[in-house]
Amino acid sequence: MLKHPMLKYLKEEGPYGPRLPLILCPGCGAGQVLNFTLHAVDSIIEEGGAKKEDFVFISGVGCSSRLTSHYLNFDSAWTIHGRSLAIATGALLANPGLNIVVFTGDGDAAAIGGNHFIHAFRRNINVTVICMNNGLYGMTGGQVAPTTLSQAITSTTPYGNIEDAFDLCRLAQTSGASYVARWTTAHPLKATKAIKKAIGKKGASFIEILSQCPVHKKETPVDMIRALKAMTVPIKKAEGSDKIPVGEFCDTPRPEWTEKYETIIEKCTARRS
């Protein structure tokens, strides 16, 4: 039987039973983002850019965070709601050689984890943050999120959302990210390329993938993916448009946290000897 080429990076079986299929609902965008990410990682490994054992996948809590719950055949951790970036920071401090990818959702990254989000980019720790933004809390039943568009009806905004949405790419960029790009699940090749580029950057990178939640939006996945394509515009043509810009927001490398700290370690150990 023909197997999906990325299955080599998943744990299909275990001594306590099957680990697949993914818990995600049919038509969910998170599985697509996993596919993009594994393709990017695969091509880096194949090209000798990094070793498989140096990759670590860390997530918080929410639908997208389930990607690391037990499926990955990598070092991975499914952690505390909102805190994946703080945990990733600690892991890098103990071993700066790790190649850490954080899977997060819009609620996990921008609401409960908002403070860690801005500080991780300000510090420029060597981490690639991939945020699946579906504009709501999927796992808990479709409540409003800081990324929900104005006027949208959700289970906790039954009369329409009176708040404005965060632009996570601009937030990451302003906070100091080295590399920022936004794509959607309707842009698989571009998203994969951006993820690969982000992982290759030394420093904090942010990839936002606008994603569909057909269950809570009560629309078909195909319609939603088409809508994602229609509601976005390449960043170069975004001026004057009321559509959401997609593409690279910034690519401005600057010294990474552990690199800077290394000079302190060198100074301290050299003086002693």
Partner: protein
């Protein structure tokens, strides 16, 4: 010359990597960090709070010299979380905070119990509730045991001196690695800010417990189960090719959570409980004096042991009261068997604490059939003086 004075002598000059054996004159906060470094501390994630900030400042000064890394995080939640990531990446990690910050760390503590993550958290207790006051307290001893959600067991130690801040910090790291669990050091402002003699033995005489690794047990990556193999499962670090999956939702020994199953959750929670509560005698310690002839006993912990032992000695020598002294070095797991072994039949048990009466409850529960009565001696925000304790003893035994 002490490491601390070296450290502060000249800004930017790094002190020797590890403290030198011999006599030192240090603050409790400094001794805590020096002990941690001897135990192998590699990552410190902190957030400022009075009266715990000195530990963080000393860690910031000292860690680069041993090739470790220090970071000041954006809050106590993230500070605790850095320890989790650091531990998984193979670095021994600690933080220190004070009571309000300790409240913020509770979710990370519960998570660490469930994921069996070794790390050390120091709570330099101050009085509450709320911002409360900034002196000394023992008001978080019940929060240490019950503050985190769920029913995870915890190990918590109570230092009473600068020497203890050094020794018990090393012990905390050893316990956390040996039992693959978070360990709390329930210090008080009193011991953290106290400055007194510290004697450091030859460093090769200090026992440092290594992490139990699957490699050392001959377990191949494909056979490795992060929550299996033994009562204390071996722990693979990130980057070693073991493809470890850390999960805190109900999981099988291999980390698989695919099928919700109450039986697997029960089994796991019972193992976590047994790991600590089934090994109390191996984990918990008490110290005692004058128990052989005692008709009464004073039971205390932390800094109260200092005035407590003085009051007991004076009651014996000056007033002829046959009173014994017992100090809980380990608060949790509670040393129930050891207490029942040491105390057979006494009149009054005195329990002075810097709170309104907390550890008096497990003590009473353990010894209610071994005494006539238990007298709680509370104090808010300050150490009891020996005179106060003596007065209480004399009042109760009519000396």
């Amino acid at each position: 010359m002490s490491v601390a004075s070296l450290a502060k002598k000249e800004n930017g000059t790094c002190p020797p990597a590890l403290i030198t054996p011999g006599r030192h004159y240090l603050e409790g906060s400094e001794a805590c960090v020096e002990g941690a470094l001897v135990a192998g501390l590699k990552v410190y994630g902190g957030y400022p709070i009075t009266p715990a900030s000195e530990i963080m400042e000393h860690a910031a000064q000292r860690l680069p010299a041993v090739g470790g890394r220090f970071i000041q995080m954006e809050d106590e939640i993230s500070a605790a979380c850095t320890l989790i990531g650091a531990s998984w990446a193979g670095g021994k990690a600690m933080t220190a905070t004070s009571s309000p910050g300790f409240s913020l760390m509770q979710e990370a503590i519960s998570f660490s119990i469930m994921t069996e993550t070794p790390l050390v958290i120091v709570d330099v207790q101050r009085p509450g509730p709320g911002q409360g006051y900034i002196t000394t307290s023992q008001e978080d001893v019940m929060q240490a045991r019950w503050g985190h959600h769920g029913q995870g067991p915890i190990i918590a130690l109570a230092p009473c001196s600068v020497q203890d801040m050094f020794d018990l910090t090393i012990e905390a790291f050893n316990l956390s690695e040996a039992w693959r669990t978070p360990v709390l050091i329930m210090a008080e402002e009193t011991v953290a800010h106290m400055r007194e003699r510290l004697i450091v033995p030859d460093l090769d005489q200090i026992r440092v417990v290594p992490r139990k690794k699957p490699q050392d047990l001959g377990i191949a990556p494909e056979d490795y189960q992060p929550y299996g193999h033994d009562l204390v499962p071996p722990l693979a670090d990130f980057g070693e090719g073991y493809n470890i999956n850390h999960v805190s939702l109900a999981h099988h020994p291999d980390g698989n959570v695919a099928r919700y199953n109450l039986d697997m959750h029960r089994e796991n929670v019972v193992r976590l409980h047994e790991k600590i509560e089934g090994n109390v005698d191996a984990i918990a310690r008490v110290e005692s004096r004058f128990l052989d002839d005692c008709e009464h006993v004073l039971i205390c912990f932390g800094a109260v042991a200092r005035t407590g032992v003085e009051a007991v000695m004076e009651a014996r020598e000056v007033h002829g009261v046959k009173i014994g002294f017992l100090r809980l070095v380990t608060l949790w797991p509670f040393a129930e068997n050891q207490l029942r072994k040491l105390i057979n039949k006494v009149g009054t048990i005195f329990v002075p604490e810097m709170n309104l009466g907390m550890m008096v409850h497990p003590i009473t529960e353990t010894l209610r059939d071994r005494c006539d009565r238990v007298v709680s001696i509370p104090s808010i925000g300050a150490l009891h003086s020996p005179e106060t304790l003596l007065e209480k003893i004399c009042e109760a035994v009519k000396c």
